[in-house]
C-alpha cells in the first residue's frame, strides 16, 4: 500500500460538481455578511455612522468594533519572541486602522448583494496618518510610525550566530557582498476564505464552518475570545477546502467576528471572502531585503556567511514563523563553519504577512544560491562544481548547522543525500551539453543560461498531530484525523497508511477530517508537516485497533496463540480461512452489544483507539532544481527550455500525490520567480487588487518538469516521511534568477530583484543592474 500510485477517493465528487466547499453547503435561512474595510493605509477613526445602512431593506444587522467589545481581545501571534514589540491585532478596528483592507464594520443582510449595498452606506470619518509602505521606509531615520505610540517600526531584531563569522570574514582571502530583494506575493487559493456559523440553542453549541487549514487552532482561538469551553464550539473545516497554501493556516478577525454576530443575532450567518477582499485582507508573504556577504577561499570553499535581512511583517505580527524560518534556512546544503544571520522584522502599513507556501525559505535560498553563483563567476569555476565542493556529505548526518530552527531546537539535519540530488539533476538536465550549447549560441547573439539552486527544508514540525481509529456499526474502520486537507488527498493517503498498518483492504477504511467535534485535539496543516506527524499517528492508532480486533476475534473464535489476518472483511487465520468472523460480527460483539447481556469473557468493549504523535524535532527534506532558460535580449522574455527537480521527502507514500504536490508547488515557484508581485504606492495603497493586475501563471507559463525522487527516510518517525508540499516552490525563484543572470552574463547584468519580469531584464541589460 505504501508507495502505491493510487487514484484519489475525493475525485469523483469534485469532478461531478458535487464537492462540498463552504459556500456549496446548503444552510437553510443563512444570512450573508460583508465587511466594510479601511480605504487607508493608516488612519484614526473619528466616527462611524451606520444608520443609513441599518435602514436599508434586507439588512439584518450592522456591527462596528464598538459593538463587539465584549469579545474584543488581541489575536495572539502564532510564533512570538521574547523581544517582540507586540502591538495588538484586534478582530475589528476600534479607533485606528493600520492597513488598507482592515475590517472596520460588518453588515449582515439577506444576500451578499444587499450586504454590499449597505456597506456602501456606512459613513466613516477618518483622520489620515502617514503610512509606511516598505521596510526601507520603516527603517529610515525619523520615519513616521506605522503604529502611533510604538517605540519604532521594528517588531523584532534577532541575531543568530555560529562560529566566529566576523573574524572569518576579516581574514578570508575573498569576500563578496550583494543585496537581493524578494517581493510580496500571496497564497491565492482559488477558493478565498469563508466562515459560516450557527448557534444551536437546543444544545448550546456554536457550530462554525471555516475554510481553514487549522480547525483546532481556530476553535481554540474562538474559545479564548468568547470565553467558552472548547466542547461548546464545534469547528468544521468542510471536506473540501479550495486550497490553503499558508494564509488559511492563520487566524483572522473575520473568523472571530462572523460566529459572534451569528450568536448576537440568533441567526445563521456566512461570509464568503471575495477576491478583492482577499487581495487586501488575506495574509501575504515574501518581501525581504537581504544584504549578504560570503567569505571563501581560492577553491570556493565557504568560510563564512553573513546575511542581514529586513522582513516586511505588515501591519501586525500574526506570527514570526516566516522570518524565523529564514534565519536558519540560509546555509542550506552547505558546510559553513561561521554563520551570522540577522533579522530586522518591520511593521509597515500593509496587509500582515505570514506563511505562504515556502514560508521564508525561498528568500533564504535566493540569498545563498545567488551568492554561490557569484562565487563561481568570481573564481571562474563552474557553479555546479562550487556547490559540489561545499555540500554536506551523506555520512555527516545528523548535521548541526549551529543555528536554532523555528521550532526552538538546535537545527540538526536528520538525513539526506545532497551530492546525489545534484548529480541526478545535472545528469537529467544534460548540464554539460547545455554548457556547450550556451557557448555556441552566444556567438550568434542568443542568450541561454543555466541556473541551479539547492535547499534544505525544515518540515514535519511539532508539537503533535492526532488520529483516532474506530470500528463502526457497519463494520468499517473509520479513521478520524484532526488535520484538514485543502487538496492533498487525505481521504486517500491516510486510508493507504491505515491499510498498510492493519493489513486490511482500503475499501473497508474510511477517513474523515477536520472536525473538532470528532476529535478533540489537533494542530493543523502547515509547514509540510502532516505526513510526518499525522501519518505516524494513523499508523499507531490503526495498529492498535488491528490488535484489538484480533484480540476480540480470538475470543469469539475460541482460539489462542494464532497469527490473525484479514481476508476481505473477515478476520481469519492463514492456515484455515474457514475459521473466521467478519468485522460486522466483531463490532456487534465488542461495540454494539446487547442490552443487559454479559459480554464474552475477556472482550474489551469499545474498539476505538487514538494516537498522538509528537516528533522530537523537525525533519529536513531537501532538493535541487536546475533551470535552462533562453532570454530574448530585445523583449526580456524568458523561455524555460528545461527544468529538472530532484526531490527528497523521505519515504514516498503515494507517488501520484507526492508528484502532484511538487509540481503544484513548482507552479507557485514560477509565479514567485517571474510573475506574482503585490504593489503598493507610497501611501501604502494596494495597486494590485485583481487578477487583471496580479499575474498567476497559467498552463502556458508553467513549463514541463522532469522530476525524480531520492528517498532518504527520516529516522524521526516510523514512516520515514518528511514534507512534500513546498519543495517545488522553495528554490524555483533562485534557480530562475541564476539562470537568467547566467544568460545575461555577456552584458554583466545583475538580477537582484524578484520576480524577474521582462521589464526588469531589459532594465538590467541597459543599466547593468536591477
Amino acid at each position: 500500500m505504501i508507495g502505491a500510485r493510487i487514484e484519489r477517493r475525493e475525485d469523483h465528487r469534485l469532478l461531478t460538481g458535487q464537492g462540498k466547499f463552504l459556500d456549496d453547503l446548503d444552510m437553510p435561512g443563512v444570512f450573508e455578511a460583508a465587511f466594510l474595510r479601511s480605504p487607508h493605509g493608516h488612519a484614526r477613526i473619528l466616527g462611524i455612522d451606520v444608520n443609513a445602512a441599518l435602514d436599508l431593506p434586507g439588512v439584518i444587522g450592522v456591527f462596528t468594533g464598538e459593538d463587539i467589545r465584549p469579545m474584543m481581545k488581541p489575536l495572539p501571534a502564532k510564533v512570538a519572541h521574547p523581544d517582540l514589540q507586540e502591538i495588538p491585532r484586534l478582530p475589528m478596528a476600534l479607533d485606528a486602522v493600520h492597513h488598507a483592507g482592515e475590517p472596520v464594520a460588518v453588515v449582515v443582510a439577506i444576500s451578499r448583494y444587499v450586504a454590499e449595498d449597505a456597506v456602501d452606506l456606512i459613513d466613516v470619518d477618518y483622520e489620515v496618518l502617514p503610512a509606511i509602505s516598505s521596510t526601507a521606509a520603516a527603517l529610515a531615520p525619523g520615519a513616521p510610525l506605522a503604529h502611533e505610540g510604538a517605540r519604532d517600526n521594528i517588531a523584532v531584531h534577532v541575531v543568530q550566530r555560529a562560529g566566529d563569522p566576523d573574524a572569518a570574514i576579516a581574514s578570508a582571502p575573498h569576500v563578496l557582498s550583494e543585496t537581493f530583494r524578494v517581493t510580496r506575493g500571496g497564497g491565492h487559493s482559488m477558493e478565498c476564505r469563508a466562515v459560516a456559523a450557527r448557534f444551536d440553542t437546543a444544545t448550546g453549541q456554536l457550530v462554525v464552518w471555516d475554510s481553514t487549514q487549522a480547525p483546532h487552532y481556530a476553535r481554540n482561538a474562538l474559545a479564548n475570545l468568547y470565553d467558552m469551553p472548547e466542547d461548546d464550539i464545534r469547528l468544521i473545516a468542510p471536506a473540501d477546502v479550495g486550497g490553503g497554501f499558508g494564509p488559511k493556516a492563520q487566524f483572522y478577525g473575520e473568523e472571530a467576528v462572523v460566529p459572534w454576530v451569528a450568536m448576537q443575532l440568533g441567526q445563521p450567518v456566512k461570509w464568503i471572502e471575495d477576491r478583492q477582499e482577499n487581495f487586501v485582507a488575506a495574509m501575504m508573504e515574501r518581501t525581504q531585503v537581504h544584504r549578504v556577504q560570503v567569505a571563501f577561499d581560492d577553491d570556493g570553499m565557504l568560510l563564512a556567511l553573513k546575511d542581514v535581512f529586513e522582513h516586511d511583517q505588515g501591519a501586525y505580527v500574526a506570527g514570526l514563523q516566516v522570518p524565523m524560518i529564514t534565519l536558519s534556512t540560509v546555509p542550506g546544503q552547505y558546510k559553513i563553519p561561521n554563520i551570522h544571520t540577522e533579522l530586522y522584522s518591520c511593521y509597515t502599513n500593509m496587509v500582515p504577512t505570514s506563511s505562504v507556501r515556502g514560508a521564508g525559505r525561498p528568500q533564504a535560498v535566493v540569498a545563498m544560491e545567488r551568492m554561490m553563483d557569484r562565487i563561481a563567476e568570481y573564481l571562474g569555476t563552474d557553479p555546479a562544481e562550487v556547490r559540489r565542493r561545499n555540500l554536506i556529505q551523506p555520512d555527516e548526518f545528523p548535521y548541526k548547522t549551529g543555528l536554532l530552527f523555528r521550532d526552538g531546537s538546535p537545527q540538526s539535519y536528520d538525513s539526506g543525500d545532497y551530492p546525489e540530488l545534484l548529480r541526478g539533476v545535472l545528469e537529467r538536465a544534460g548540464y554539460d551539453a547545455w554548457r556547450t550549447r550556451q557557448e555556441q549560441v552566444r556567438a550568434q547573439g542568443r542568450l541561454i543560461g543555466i541556473g541551479i539552486a539547492c535547499y534544505v527544508e525544515g518540515c514535519g514540525l511539532g508539537p503533535y498531530e492526532g488520529a483516532k481509529a474506530r470500528l463502526t456499526n457497519r463494520g468499517e474502520v473509520l479513521v478520524t484525523l484532526a488535520a484538514a486537507p485543502q487538496g492533498q488527498g487525505y481521504e486517500t493517503v491516510y486510508a493507504q497508511i491505515a491499510s498498510a498498518a492493519m493489513g486490511l483492504d482500503m475499501r473497508y477504511i474510511r477517513v474523515v477530517t477536520g472536525d473538532t467535534g470528532r476529535i478533540p485535539f489537533g494542530q493543523g496543516t502547515f509547514a509540510s508537516r502532516i505526513t510526518a506527524t499525522a501519518g505516524p499517528a494513523v499508523l499507531q492508532a490503526c495498529r492498535a485497533l488491528r490488535d484489538r480486533i484480533f484480540h476480540t476475534a480470538a475470543i469469539m473464535l475460541k482460539i489462542e496463540g494464532e497469527n490473525f489476518i484479514f481476508r476481505g472483511d473477515r478476520v481469519t487465520v492463514p492456515h484455515d480461512e474457514s475459521v473466521a468472523v467478519t468485522l460486522q460480527q466483531v463490532t456487534q460483539v465488542a461495540n454494539v452489544g446487547k442490552h443487559g447481556i454479559t459480554l464474552l469473557r475477556g472482550v474489551q468493549p469499545g474498539l476505538e483507539t487514538s494516537s498522538y504523535f509528537a516528533p522530537e524535532q523537525a525533519a529536513y527534506a531537501s532538493g535541487t532544481h536546475a533551470a535552462v532558460v533562453e532570454v530574448d535580449p530585445e523583449t526580456g522574455r524568458i523561455e524555460i527550455l528545461k527544468y529538472v527537480i530532484g526531490h527528497d521527502c523521505g519515504t514516498v507514500i503515494n507517488p501520484l500525490l507526492v508528484d502532484g504536490q511538487v509540481l503544484g508547488g513548482f507552479a507557485a515557484g514560477i509565479g514567485n520567480a517571474m510573475y506574482e508581485e503585490q504593489f503598493y504606492d507610497d501611501a501604502a495603497q494596494p495597486l494590485t487588487t485583481s487578477y487583471l493586475d496580479f499575474s498567476l501563471p497559467s498552463s502556458a507559463e508553467v513549463p514541463p518538469v522532469e522530476l525524480f525522487h531520492v528517498q532518504s527516510p527520516s529516522p524521526l518517525n516510523p514512516l520515514g516521511a518528511k514534507g512534500a508540499g513546498e519543495g517545488g516552490t522553495i528554490p524555483a525563484p533562485a534557480a530562475i534568477a541564476n539562470a537568467v543572470e547566467d544568460a545575461l552574463r555577456p552584458f554583466g547584468a545583475r538580477i537582484n530583484e524578484l520576480p524577474v519580469t521582462p521589464s526588469r531584464v531589459i532594465d538590467a541589460i541597459e543599466g547593468g543592474g536591477s
Binding site: 466547499f21 434586507g58 486550497g243 508528484d659
Partner: protein, 164 residues
C-alpha cells in the same frame, strides 16, 4: 414581475435549459448567471474564484460556447441553453475527460476543476487536441493553484485521443 418583497427591487423571470432540463427562477437584474445557477438552481458545482473574468473557475457552456458565468447576468441569459459540470457525467458514469483527470491526478483541491472541465469540453468539440502545446493553450484560460497543470495536460491529450 412583482418586486422582491424585502428589498422592493424589480425582479426578472429567467428561463434556462440547464443540462437538458427546463429550469426557471427569479432574479434581480444584477444577479450574475453564476449566482443564479448556484443559489437559485442549487447547482453549486460552478464556483466563483474571482468575479473578474480571469480565473475561469466559473466557466460554463452557454449556447455551445465556453463563457465566464461571473460575467453574464442571469436576466440577460434567459432563454439560453446552459451546460454545467453537473451535466458531464452520464448517470454515475464519468466522461472520458473526467476519468482522465482522475487517472492523471489533475485534481487537487478541486475548486477550479469544474471550470477547467467545461473549457476543455468546449474545446474538444471544436476538434482534437494533439500536442502538448495545444493542450496548454486550451488550458490557459483557467487558473489552477494546486496541480501545476502537468496532470491536466496529460488528461486533455488522453481524453482527446479517446473521443476523437
Amino acid at each position: 414581475m412583482e418586486p422582491d418583497p424585502v428589498t422592493r427591487r424589480a425582479t426578472h423571470v429567467v428561463h434556462l435549459t440547464v443540462n437538458g432540463e427546463d429550469r426557471g427562477g427569479v432574479a434581480e437584474a444584477r444577479t450574475s448567471l453564476a449566482d443564479f445557477l448556484r443559489r437559485e438552481l442549487g447547482l453549486t458545482g460552478t464556483h466563483l474564484g474571482c468575479e473578474q473574468g480571469v480565473c475561469g473557475a466559473c466557466t460554463i457552456i452557454v449556447d455551445g460556447a465556453a463563457v465566464r458565468s461571473c460575467l453574464m447576468l442571469a436576466a440577460a441569459a434567459s432563454g439560453a441553453v446552459v451546460e454545467t459540470v453537473e451535466g458531464l457525467a452520464d448517470g454515475g458514469e464519468l466522461s472520458p475527460l473526467q476519468r482522465a483527470f482522475r487517472r492523471h491526478h489533475a485534481v487537487q483541491c478541486g475548486f477550479c476543476t469544474s471550470g477547467f472541465l467545461m473549457s476543455i469540453t468546449a474545446a474538444l468539440r471544436d476538434g482534437p487536441v494533439e500536442t502538448e502545446d495545444q493542450a496548454r493553450d486550451v488550458l490557459s484560460g483557467n487558473i489552477c493553484r494546486c496541480t501545476g497543470y502537468a496532470g491536466m495536460v496529460k488528461a486533455v491529450l488522453e481524453a482527446s485521443a479517446e473521443t476523437s
